[in-house]
């Protein structure tokens, strides 16, 4: 079972420069744990104690997983998960 995971530029230091990696799992949370075994430290950039990190966008196919079930979102073979750091900022 393979799920394709697209990695943004800023996180490619964890994947030896690869813009796409593969993982397994039946939920997004399991997938991230699986990825962390092969690419140590990656999970910490995606998840904190509260769940998905606030300024990281994760999409299952073309839907933001915040509108699905977050880390509990089911994933399956053939899905594509895309990670994009949120573009955000403010006056202070």
């Amino acid at each position: 079972m393979a799920i394709e995971v697209r990695i943004p530029t800023i996180l490619r230091t964890y994947t030896d420069g690869a813009k796409q990696v593969e993982g397994t799992g039946s939920t997004l949370g399991e997938l991230f744990t699986d990825l962390d075994h092969k690419h140590g430290g990656l999970r910490d950039r995606l998840v904190d104690d509260g769940g998905l990190r606030r300024f990281v966008n994760v999409y299952l196919n073309d839907e933001d997983v915040r509108f699905l079930a977050g880390l509990d979102t089911p994933v399956k073979d053939g899905d594509t998960v895309t990670v994009l750091p949120a573009v955000a900022g403010g006056a202070s």
Binding site: P8, I10, Y59, R66, A86, V87, G89, G90, A91
Partner: protein, 135 residues
Amino acid sequence: MLTIPRGLRDKIVAHARRDHPDEACGVLAGPAGRDRPERFIAMTNAERSPTFYRFDSGEQFRVWRDMEGNDEEPVVIYHSHTATEAYPSRTDITLAAEPGAHYVLVSTRNSDTTEFRSYRIVDGTVTEEPVTVVE
């Protein structure tokens, strides 16, 4: 250095003025690896706030996917400050996640002039750069 066509610079300024007092935000896309901004993409500020901006996540996904399909990259990421100077705030610096982009800050705090400045933000370090406007 940021080299930017006048037309694109004017579109950024017009967008910032239109959305004032909310922060405006967007992207200039250009061919990958060429450091030339060519295509103006105004983005919705999902926060709709005078002190914070965030690209709508669905819009960001589509724009990033389109850029990839066009072999483009985000050359400029711009946003406006509506009551403070056109300099990256601590939040701007913490959240900057495109090390290859030029971060353009516009300030609309004065109604007669618009400040337009550009920066590189890499690993938490801000470096201002000159802006060259071309015809």
